[in-house]
Symmetry: C2
Subunit: 587 residues, 2 copies
């Protein structure tokens, strides 16, 4: 027998047709001498009915069916009785009157029920990933993932991009995250590294004149994993020559618009909004702000710097800031205990405390209200745009602590207060990034993006590393970084200055990146690019909050594959061939 339709294809249109299905038993019910079976395939579910008046043979076989048996059946599409129709189901108006049934393969009772609303733990789901992936929700997510890459490819193809594959076995570079290493059998004592991104290769392709490159590229980082990190992840990676930031942004806006339209059926408006990095940090305490709601950070430093409340005045005096969030109308909703909980939350982001004021008709209330009577209080109310019923939350600290703590608090309050319109997709470019970040511990600058990013001003790169900007841009969606990019350095002397600013000796620069410096000698065009996290895009567009739900065979937080038990021990002979040994275990 050969399948004529997927389950979900069947509607009233096929009534009267004889069709063949291949799928799994989702559920079986015996009712009044009939057997009803929900048949599932990757498209969805349709109901089959076994009737002794049609085929007692098929009914007898159906009597053996259990959940997850693999079956083939031929039968006629018939209309359900009116009261049996199920409007919530795409195929709910019809059923299959089965004439012939074959059990293709049997199944043991699965370790969990294969339905979207499974409450089984994720460990079991990952161990039996092949069953987990049968859940309609996950099947839909992977269809969406496939659709997104298809749209991206077609769009970039139309725009003249060439898909090029870059190596997975490449060279370790100490800048950036920790590399996964691969011992070489041929070159004993030497190692390949898995790429953290195809950055240098795509730049080489620009030197080669490929002009426009893209790749759906696998990338690797051996970092401790958070909920939204995986050891291997996929980037929509592109690079283009002779284009300005404006050109690159414009092209990628059209790309995202098309993805949203094709995949979600949503028209997003372009051009997207833009925020300089400094403004994003000032207003939202985040370099990837969720702009679906307000609760912006308000700088009260000027107003409180002479306050009798020493915590505030002291913070400003020490070069820090005092900022607040006005939670409109929340004064009554938050008890002292609730606010203490918020303070505990803020402290996780480094805040030493969370000061607060409630606004009522008479004025400001709360433990620190006494410091803000009269003019001081009025000034505060003015800048906070405060009215009776509002709750003002303050953090006074170093600039970055204020941003981190209030930024996180803002996100939490946005959710808690139900301020977020989940149907909205707010794309936002964050621009004018700092070129460097200073690491206090290492006492050196690190590249905020990577060491190949074009500075806004070459002179400043040398003279003023603490303030020089990068010609870089990140795309943010609803508080998540979708990806980022930059114009790249394409002249040798600028790249050499960059390495010097990062503390590389000439020898180190040559050792690590000699081929890049050399390439700049032979006619390198101006170029730039961008990379988007595909897994994260799928997560946001599928409405999931779990990155693992977007990856067919993901790893756990300890970078294990529970299905195959990777990583695992290997034969000593394999290690001997590679010329490596396992060191004594760390304590």
């Amino acid at each position: 027998m050969q399948r004529t339709h997927y389950c979900d294809d069947l509607t009233e249109q096929q009534i009267g047709e004889t069709i063949t299905l291949q799928g799994w038993v989702q559920k079986r019910r015996d009712l009044g001498g009939l057997i009803f079976v929900d048949v599932r395939d990757r498209s969805g579910i349709v109901q089959a009915v076994f009737n002794p008046a049609i085929s007692s043979e098929a009914l007898a076989i159906a009597d053996k069916l259990r959940n997850e048996f693999v079956i083939e059946m031929t039968g006629k599409v018939i209309e359900r009785q009116e009261q049996q129709k199920n409007a919530n189901m795409k195929t709910g108006a019809i059923e299959i009157q089965v004439e012939n049934l074959i059990i293709v393969n049997e199944a043991k009772n699965p370790p969990f029920i294969i339905e979207d609303d499974t409450d089984v733990g994720e460990e079991i789901r990952l161990k039996y990933r092949y069953l987990d992936l049968r859940r309609p929700q996950l099947a839909k997510t992977f269809k969406m993932r496939s659709d997104i890459t298809k749209t991206v490819r077609n769009f970039l193809d139309t725009e003249g991009f060439l898909e090029v594959e870059t190596p997975i076995l490449t060279k370790s570079t100490p800048e950036g995250a920790r590399d996964y290493l691969v011992p070489s059998r041929v070159h004993e004592g030497e190692f390949y590294a898995l790429p953290q991104s195809p950055q240098l290769f795509k730049q080489m392709l620009m030197v080669s004149g490929f002009d426009r490159y893209y790749q759906i590229a696998r990338c690797f980082r051996d970092e401790d994993l958070r909920a939204d990190r995986q050891p291997e992840f996929t980037q929509i990676d592109m690079e283009m020559s002779f284009m300005s930031i404006e050109d690159i942004i414009e092209l990628n806006e059209r790309l995202m618009k098309k993805v949203m339209k094709d995949v979600k059926g949503i028209d997003v408006e372009i051009p997207f909004k833009r925020l300089p990095y400094d403004e994003a940090m000032a207003r939202f305490g985040s370099d990837k702000p969720d702009t679906r709601f307000g609760l912006e950070l308000i700088d009260a430093s000027e107003v409180v710097k002479d306050s009798a409340f020493k915590v505030f005045a002291g913070a400003v005096e020490n070069g820090g800031q005092v900022k607040l969030i006005n939670v409109k109308g929340a004064a009554d909703g938050y008890s002292r205990k609730d606010i203490d909980a918020l303070g505990e939350f803020a402290s996780r982001y480094g805040a030493k405390g969370l000061a607060w004021l409630k606004v009522d008709a008479e004025g400001l209330k709360g433990p620190i209200a006494k410091f803000f009577e009269g003019d001081a209080g009025n000034s505060l109310k003015t800048i906070a745009n405060a009215e009776a019923g509002d709750l003002l939350l303050f953090v006074a600290d170093k600039r970055n602590v204020v941003a981190d703590a209030l930024g996180a608090l803002r996100s939490k309050l946005g959710k808690d207060q139900g301020l977020i319109d989940e149907t909205q997709f707010n794309f936002l470019w964050v621009t004018d990034w700092p070129l460097f970040e200073y690491d206090e511990e290492d006492e050196r600058y690190y590249a905020a993006h990577h060491p190949f990013t074009m500075p806004s001003d070459v002179e400043e790169l040398v003279s003023s590393p603490q303030t020089v900007k990068a010609q870089a841009y990140d795309l943010v969606l609803n508080g998540y970084e979708l990806g980022g990019g930059s114009l790249r350095i394409y002249k040798r002397d600028v790249q050499e200055k960059m390495f010097k600013a990062l503390g590389f000796s000439e020898e180190q620069a040559r050792e690590q990146f000699g081929f890049l410096l050399d390439a700049f000698d032979y006619g390198t065009p101006p170029h730039g690019g961008i990379a988007f996290g595909l897994d994260r895009i799928v997560m946001l567009l599928s409405g999931s909050t779990n990155l693992r739900d977007t990856i067919a065979f993901p790893k756990t937080a300890s970078a294990s594959c529970l299905l195959t038990s990777a990583p695992d021990q290997v034969d000593d002979a394999q290690l001997a061939e590679l010329g490596i040994r396992i060191a004594a275990k760390k304590a």
Copy 2:
């Protein structure tokens, strides 16, 4: 300035238009006060002319141009003077009268001239790969590679295949080639392996009901490299449920037909020819025969088994074979010395000698002719279809040596004799493979394809491993294996029998493939698949003979990347974190 056209877009159609180009200086010629510059971009080349009557400024800048400078120019498309037209060049009827020129980046004199007919060694080309990739021939190859994957994707998409990414960090399995290993930092003493193919994951997707899967998948093998092997390579990988061999073959024939049409403009006829493995070996001495020419192997065993020539009679007596190739009309062309050279060639494939006979009007000539006078000679001439002027070449040995030696000799003679029509694309399915290969050294069977291949007969799998066939099929093109596949085992008991036949203990089977066996318990559909070597397809379709020309950043025969110097030494701190040490160097 923004590019208005790629160089190759410009023809007589644009005459009179003002256009802007961005590209590289391919060549500069000064002639009668004018400067001519060939401008190159990824599309091709167009000629620009600098004329003091048009812009003395542009001319002055043009005077500084050297090869490989990056330039932008604006000018008018004009018709060339009649005698200047170059019919061999797509843009040969026009030139650009430049009004404005900018030098975007300078270039040192490259280490080799960037032209297709470069005679510089491959080492230099790989070290400066970014310059090598500027050669039009390579640029064209990568355009073709991109086009092939596009066609494949679009076709499979239309056929309902879902693209799914499978892990690169996975588990080492001892069957098959040598794995690349990746030490785990989190799980000290344990290793991931890079996949040799996504085999088990794609089977898991079938268990999940994904029904039709594909991926352009990176695969890895740590094997000693031959000319047509790379440590990392790319497969067009697919798997499908509920399909027969006929279904799978038919679908892939349509795929290949479409690739040939879209990429080469060639209509290939489907269905492709098919040859059972045994017949391929018998007639061509190869499991991937080039069927563009004859020179088939002829079995003379029966005719010579009682011959007085003991080498022939002895070979047959010992269970071996005597086979010949009739090189039509080659008797005069091959001196004794030439034939000795062929014998030397055959000996590389294990043949102990190459016997020969020349045919002339009187009969057979040559050192062994005396053994084949009268009837014996006539019988030989009959089975060899020999006429005066033919050269008969014999190998007498064990069956596999005869096949290897004469198969290789056949390929060589096909080329040497100019028998191969290079414009022909002969696709061929090789079917009915043996399920096992017996390894004399290890004294055990190995899976000829892989241990997941469905046997033609489950009973025979146990009772007759030496003759049982695999439900497998390889696609061959012009003597190269493009790829292969099989129906897979989908029942636990069959898979267990397979592992047993391969000498696995129950514990080993469970340790290595427990998750696969378990999966078969939960409702696994019948499924099968195929994988094609993309690099090889690109090589054959681009007419190259060097696999490295199809990979943007390939590795050398010692698995090094000469551009980035990978693999390389890494910091001791990196190894310490991974819990491994470098063993003492092997002698």
